[in-house]
């Protein structure tokens, strides 16, 4: 054991002395910092500005009211989901937001508005929140009306669009110190509603489709109402007809169940799959480089005079395994800190993901699959190193090996997310090289206990076999000067030692 630790310590010191290690260690924290900064500073504005030039004077207020109503509807939907998810309906069971279906009902939306909208609801809920519950954040409205900028002339029908109008729409517009995209200018002529008169929407060509749809719907409703009136239908009846809704109710699972639960539970295991791949491949490459260095530097004989080949191999596995673990823990740690710092993410994604992993067997299995997968892959890299004369040589062995690992892993990830019983994922779960990936990918969507235990037993047996074979390859190849052929490699796996 002392020798294994000595070898492991030396391997670790060698890696830690390289710049590459520190660059890799810093990669994730830097990426997180950049993405955090970017999402804080560079996030696109959600709100789109628009202007209305209403020569009739009838439609602009209507438009604004309707825009507000549709935003309120969206807010009510989000708020009711929030209330259900964090079990806050008890605060006011009669409130519109205590009912998941309320957003479909105009009367309820109206009642929501009359009760003070989202602001009033948030004020009511705030004292009831426990410390794990994030407050509800009222989003900015989707659209905001702005006055037509100075000097912009609306061209007559058939006339060319002026330069000023075009450039105003191309640029963002400043509203209360915020730079907002300028989505559209709606022109309503004085005679709108009469035959031949048409409203025009000027855009920059990249406009928000729903903004245009909203404008069209609101104007259409208004024109329809006029038509009803012209037909002698009473205004109340007309409104009733217009707002008539087919009785449709939408059935949704409560938040945090159904497919969303599968996704939530799969987040940590799937993150582990990627971590496993990245760390195994990077530290595996370091291991390989180390072995090739020792081989091409003719170092082995001196070392093997003091310790057994198995000890050397185990020391390397342990040392570089520890390096891998340092990297994983650093990455996971900074990821966690970042997640907690960006509160929304921690509360909405990370905490539920961790909470979903409530089964000790599941957690234990995840750890075993991760470590097992690491050892399995690390040994593949060590074997490649042991049979390679130079780095160039190693590359030519490594390319097929990486493909052999990556392609099935990519396939299994796709398959496992579709469902735990996809045939590809099922088959690969029982091939030890892929077991850790397939099982980690499937864990979140529910796998039978016998299957977890069975694959772990098989994985451990495979690791034992791999250790034996690798030990033989190590012993036989390290002192061998000749170029290894596949035939010789296979004979090494079985033999005790080989030509010196």
């Amino acid at each position: 054991m002392r020798e294994i630790l000595l070898v492991a310590k030396r391997e670790m010191r060698q890696v830690i002395a390289t710049k590459g290690f520190w660059i890799m260690l810093a990669a994730v924290p830097i990426a997180l910092a950049i993405s955090g900064f970017a999402s804080n500073q560079l996030a696109p504005e959600r709100t789109t500005a628009y202007s209305v030039v209403d020569e009739s004077g009838r439609y602009a207020p209507l438009l604004e009211t309707q825009m507000q109503a549709s935003f309120r509807q969206a807010t009510l939907r989000e708020l009711s989901e929030y209330a259900e998810k964090w079990e806050l309906q008890h605060v006011d069971p009669e409130a519109p937001w205590a009912n998941r279906q309320a957003w479909l009902n105009p009367a309820e939306i109206q009642r929501f508005a009359e009760a003070g909208g989202a602001e009033a609801a948030v004020a009511l809920l705030e004292p009831e929140l426990d410390e794990d519950t994030p407050p509800f954040e009222i989003e900015d409205p989707y659209y905001t009306e702005v006055a037509l900028p100075d000097g912009v002339a609306i061209p007559a029908v058939g006339e060319e669009v002026g330069e000023r109008l075009r450039s105003v729409l191309e640029d963002d517009i400043t509203v209360d110190d915020r730079r907002l995209p300028y989505g559209a200018i709606l022109h309503i002529p004085a005679n709108f509603g009469q035959p031949g008169a048409q409203a025009r929407i000027f855009t920059n060509g990249r406009s928000n489709a729903s903004l245009i749809r909203n404008m069209r719907e609101i104007l259409s409703a208004s024109v329809r109402q006029d038509a009803f009136a012209a037909q002698g239908i009473a205004p109340d009846t007309a409104i009733a007809l217009q707002t008539m809704q087919a009785p449709v109710s939408v059935i949704e699972p409560p938040p945090g169940e159904g497919r969303s639960l599968v996704a939530t539970r799969s987040l940590v295991p799937i993150a582990l799959v990627y971590l496993l791949l990245i760390t195994a491949v990077t530290t595996g490459s370091m291991m390989l480089q180390g072995v090739v260095e020792e081989r091409s530097n003719k170092l082995f004989e001196s070392v093997l005079a003091c310790i057994k080949p198995d000890t050397l191999m185990q020391g390397k596995l342990l040392g570089l395994g520890a390096i891998g673990l340092i990297i994983v823990l650093t990455w996971a740690g900074t990821g966690l800190v970042a997640a907690l710092y960006f509160e929304g993410f921690a509360a909405e994604v990370l905490r539920p993901s961790l909470e979903a992993l409530d089964d000790p067997l599941l957690i234990l299995a995840m750890i075993i699959y991760f470590l097992g997968g690491y050892v399995v892959l690390a040994m593949v890299f060590l074997a490649v190193g042991a049979i390679s004369e130079s780095m160039q040589d190693a590359q030519s062995y490594l390319t097929p090996v990486i493909f052999l690992i990556m392609i099935p892993v990519v396939i299994v990830m796709q398959a496992a997310l579709k469902g735990p019983d996809e045939p590809v994922a099922l088959i690969l779960s029982w091939i030890p090289l892929y077991t850790p990936f397939a099982m980690l990918a499937r864990l979140g969507s529910g796998v039978a206990t016998w299957e977890i235990i069975g694959t772990i037993v098989l994985l451990i047996a495979f690791i034992w076999l791999e250790l034996k074979l690798l030990g033989n390859i190590f012993r036989a190849s390290l002192l061998n000067d000749g170029k290894p052929t596949w035939k010789r490699i296979f004979s090494w796996m079985g033999s005790k030692d080989s030509a010196g």
């Binding site: 002392r2 020798e3 000595l6 030396r10 060698q14 002395a17 260095e293 020792e294 091409s296 530097n297 003719k298 170092l299 004989e301 001196s302 070392v303 093997l304 005079a305 003091c306 310790i307 057994k308 002192l479 005790k496 030692d497 080989s498 030509a499 010196g500």
Partner: protein, 307 residues
């Protein structure tokens, strides 16, 4: 009878159909300098690797300091392989300490032993430098230090002089002699006869895995017929004990002859015969055969060796 540092008893090593070492028997007494002599493929390296437990024999028995070969002996062994290399990024001092620790030394004594050796090898100023900054000769000296750091009782050196310049070769010869004076048994393999001639108490000559000779240098020479050069008036071929002669330069009626005596006949006997019988001689030089000549005698002229 001194204790045995290493013994091979009927040891054979086969790699597939190839026999690298063939039924080898020898014993190395403690405290001597022992040379493994042979050309390429004679089985020197394979024998040393078996003694170190890097390879295991196909048949036969090996004893190293009274025990079976195993890594448990590592603490008492210093080994310098023929193919040398060190971790390029590691410092000189760390390298030596690492190998000392692999040989079961504790860190503190390993460090002081390493520093003492570096002083001795005139490398103390380079202790903190990475190996890659060293010249080839310096790196070779560091490698020698890794073999000597644990003050081994048994020093095994595989072709220790190859790749060293004459100055460092002389330094290494001194180190080997010093280790032996301090009681260590030194075994080294070489295909250069000069070093063996200067250093070895005992020799093992190998030819294609088989033992050709095992004994002291004097014993090796005694196995060759005696040779001498004499200057006489008449061809000495007819004198008793003379196997063959070869005439050289003549001057004023005197001729110089190279004379090879029959096996077992000493030059003294010939000289005595000449003086007793009034055979006129102007010179009588006994020629001691070189180790190279004894090697060719035992192993054959085809082996790739150096004088």
């Amino acid at each position: 009878m001194p204790a045995t540092a290493m013994a091979f008893d009927g040891v054979t090593k086969q790699f597939g159909d190839f026999t690298a070492v063939d039924n080898l028997n020898f014993a190395i007494p403690e405290g001597c300098i022992f040379g493994f002599l042979g050309g390429n493929g004679a089985g020197k390296t394979t024998s040393l690797r078996m003694a170190l437990d890097i390879l295991s024999p196909t048949s036969g028995r090996i004893e190293v300091m009274g025990k079976e070969p195993s890594r448990e002996n590592a603490a008492e062994i210093g080994f310098l392989p023929e193919e040398r290399g060190l971790y390029k990024k590691m410092s000189v001092l760390d390298t030596i300490i690492y190998f000392a620790q692999l040989k079961q030394m504790e860190a503190a004594p390993a460090k002081s032993a390493a520093m003492a050796l570096l002083e001795r090898l005139e490398l103390a100023d380079w202790a903190k430098s990475p190996i890659e900054k060293l010249s080839k000769g310096m790196a070779q000296k560091v490698q020698v230090a890794t073999a000597l750091v644990n003050s081994p009782k048994l020093l095994m050196l595989d072709e220790p002089f190859s790749g060293l310049d004459p100055v460092n070769q002389a330094m290494l010869e001194d180190l080997i002699a010093e280790s032996a004076r301090n009681g260590a048994t030194v075994i080294f393999s070489t295909h250069v006869m000069q070093h063996a001639e200067r250093l070895c108490d005992r020799l093992l000559m190998l030819a294609r895995g088989k033992k050709a000779f095992d004994g002291t240098q004097d014993e090796a020479r005694a196995a060759l017929p005696s040779r001498l050069a004499l200057t006489a008036k008449a061809d000495p071929s007819a004198l008793p004990g003379v196997e063959r002669t070869h005439a050289g330069e003549s001057h004023d009626g005197w001729t110089r002859y190279e004379v090879e005596l029959q096996q077992g006949i000493e030059p003294d006997a010939l000289l005595e015969h000449c003086t007793a019988n009034g055979v006129p001689l102007r010179s009588f030089d006994v020629q001691v055969p070189s180790l190279h000549e004894t090697f060719i005698h035992f192993v054959g002229a085809d082996e790739e060796i150096e004088r």
